[in-house]
Symmetry: C2
Subunit: 213 residues, 2 copies
DNA sequence: CAGAAATTCTAGCACCGCTAGACATTCGAG
DNA sequence: CTCGAATGTCTAGCGGTGCTAGAATTTCTG
């Protein structure tokens, strides 16, 4: 019965296609443009096929969110890692790096890199970010049954931030406020509610104030 | 022609009724339940009447947002003011107020009270808060043509925060990151993405880290 | 009081998420 | 190979959305 496993694989492929197409459509034209009709048309199937994979549009958003969470966790770890292994930047005058710019492998550089990576992700993939934190994807947070990718995203933040939480401060609690602050910056910036030109200043001020290097 | 001014007043009244009804409906059943049909029915007029006052649903949301901004600014100022005039709390043991709890008239107490008032407003009037910062009300921020109530809300924050921005930090910039952090806490908390029991700890940690008392 | 002007309503458009039931396809037993 | 059952997919449609053209009504004005 190899035919059986082939069908299962094709079905899994189609599911991935749905999620990828939804994400693509959302990135191109926003989530409002992701309608079940358009989505069905793009994958060359009729609407009910979508409902054989997902219980509704919410679940499709949720699937995009989980995919995004995995990517974000990887991006955050990569940034923190790159900052750890970075020494003085050769293209820049080392004497200007007095207070420990991001081009140092110290804690400040790591945290700055982490914050930038987070905000960069939110700005680069706004639709995915919305699916994760802005829209209702039917996902559970801060609980037992929180899906692994979401938990892992939080952990990726925590891995870098636990070093700067400071004494007598639970790393988890510190990560929560750090995350919330980044989330606030990300959403307010993208909605045009904060002056764009000061973005970099805000990141540095926030990181320097929150962190106990 | 006193009839003319009477009609204008009646028209203004009806506009206020629309906004108040939209807000009420949103608070009771969420913004999804605020449809033009339901709204029209509640105010005892047909749908097109709504469109003689507002260009669309967006503008109605925007009107609720402006109303909310005015209220929020007042609430923030009231909280900051009350904290300024507060001395040691008589109902509480003064010796436990070692590190300067909110029941002192000092900067920390003022900022804590401000932060609590902000988050309290967001929690108490989630629909209004959404109209202001989460939904698209067609409003312009961080620009010349930003409506007065919104600017004033920011100013209300700034009035208290400029004292703790610290030297060499633009008060406006500091207010931006403080606001963003509060906004992040407010939205993530309400979406169930942060453990509710640590809410108070988060506020104190955030305030203590951000502020330069 | 009649006609003009302003106001309000009815009815409908194109679209939404979602689904019942018709239709087509694939499978397995004889 | 055949034929009934099971599986898969589609067509068509439901009740809802924001919004608007044009008819109907009310109010104002000469």
């Amino acid at each position: 019965m190899a035919a059986q496993v082939r069908k299962e694989r094709e079905r899994a492929d189609r599911e991935k296609l749905i999620v990828a197409t939804a994400r693509e459509l959302a990135e191109q034209q926003g989530w409002d443009a992701v309608t079940t009709r358009r989505l069905a048309e793009r994958i060359q199937y009729s609407q009910p096929v979508l409902y054989s994979h997902f219980r509704g549009k919410r679940e499709i958003i949720g699937a995009v969110a989980l995919e995004g969470a995995t990517e974000m966790a990887a991006a955050l770890r990569a940034a923190a890692n790159a900052a750890t292994n970075a020494t003085t930047n050769t293209t820049r005058d080392a004497t200007t790096n007095t207070a420990g710019d991001s081009a140092t492998g110290g804690p400040r550089g790591r945290v700055l890199a982490l914050a930038r990576a987070y905000l960069d992700f939110a700005e680069r993939y706004p639709a995915v970010y919305d699916a994760m934190f802005q829209l209702d994807g039917g996902l559970t947070f801060a609980a037992e049954e929180t899906p692994e990718p979401l938990r892992d995203g939080f952990t990726a933040l925590l891995e870098t931030l636990e070093d700067v939480a400071g004494p007598d401060v639970r790393p988890g609690l510190f990560t929560e406020i750090f995350w919330a602050s980044l989330h606030g910056l990300a959403t307010l910036s993208r909605a045009g509610r904060l002056p764009p030109q000061d973005a970099e200043d805000r990141i540095e001020l926030l990181v320097d104030r929150l962190s106990a290097f």
